[in-house]
Symmetry: C2
Subunit: 189 residues, 2 copies
DNA sequence: CTGTGCTTGTGAATGTGAACACAAGCACTG
DNA sequence: CAGTGCTTGTGTTCACATTCACAAGCACAG
């Protein structure tokens, strides 16, 4: 979250930012931000604030986003297609290098510059330096595909299906349930 | 989150569920779940667990998901199209009744059964009983469109753009930044 | 080179949510 | 109808994150 906000400032050629500025922008309190940054190591300048470039570098290092991260996309349906062509991944240094689907009609076709392969041809991801996968398949198939991904050496899964998937402890799953996020709104409205 | 998990059990014709069962499934501790449910009012049965149908009804009531909620979709790009046809909204009782876009090429065309209208024809949403909007436009346009939505009487916005939008206090914003969620993974991997 | 105004970094206080442990109670068995 | 096993509901403890408050320190003006 900080990375996104501060990258935005960098684009505006802003050189320094104070904890107060960030707090206003992110709707947080300034001591919160100072405390968080202090855990990253103290590199703020009293009276001036934090050097934007330094801050971004430090956060990217911590999050291991300094180098390009290759990712595989599973599921070339409407959502999968939208994700494959989504421009927002670039900012964090992600690149979708493989797309897989189970439907024979889709296999062999291209999305952007990437050819859709059969899910059965999911090789050894670890060997290819692919540690992340984006799972955009129907809920019913999610667990089965996740199992295959784990087997192939994937270490992190972004699950777009509205269900829980079970994986070994060494694998990290992050789930986005779009409908659930929408489901939060009526309560407050 | 509970609603999703318990709805899944309902589909399996499960009649009762214990806090322990849910805890295992959701990777939580059972006292957490009992405490949460106790805030909803005590309706569990000692020795048996919670009645699934009652629990679902209670949670839906609290979240105000008992009746159909109409929603407008803004942005008919790849992501917008995927969301318009996304089957997952039905489970929470959401229905996308309007689609808007700014591109003349898209206006007039249909996605599913819904015709795409010009963003300039965004009328009085409140009058039409539409309280929620899904924002699937580029970051640059997000704030401007959000302002218009607020003006039209929208009360809740699901923002799919990777940016903060500022709205009056009476309006609630829920942001999904897909790339950010993926950005969390490398740290753990 | 001194004074003023900001801003950081952090110990202490505060608030909040999660985990524990156990009494109370229902169901089912023999 | 007593006994056993399981499960809820909750008072208490614990852990942790947020907020406060302020000393320390940098920058810039005069």
């Amino acid at each position: 979250m900080y990375l996104r906000a501060i990258s935005f400032l960098q684009q505006q050629a802003r050189e320094y930012v104070s904890s107060q500025d960030l707090a206003d922008q992110l709707h947080l309190k300034s001591p919160q931000i100072r405390k968080d940054f202090s855990y990253f190591g103290a590199f703020g300048v009293k009276g001036t604030g934090y050097h934007v470039d330094t801050l971004i570098g430090r956060i990217r290092d911590i999050l291991k986003l300094s180098s390009i991260q290759k990712a595989a996309l599973i599921g070339a349906g409407r959502l999968g297609k939208a994700l494959a062509l989504y421009p927002g991944f670039g900012m964090y240094g992600f690149e979708i290098v493989e797309i897989f689907d189970s439907s024979p009609q889709k296999i062999g076709k291209k999305i952007g510059n990437t050819k859709i392969k059969s899910i059965n041809d999911l090789g050894d991801m670890e060997e290819q330096g692919i540690r992340l996968a984006i799972l955009a398949v129907p809920s019913e198939a999610a667990q089965e595909v996740a199992d295959r991904l784990v087997e192939s050496g994937i270490r992190g899964i972004l699950n777009m299906a509205p269900c829980y998937i079970t994986v070994p402890k060494r694998v990290r799953v992050q789930t986005i349930d779009i409908a659930m996020e929408l489901g939060i709104l009526p309560y407050y409205v």
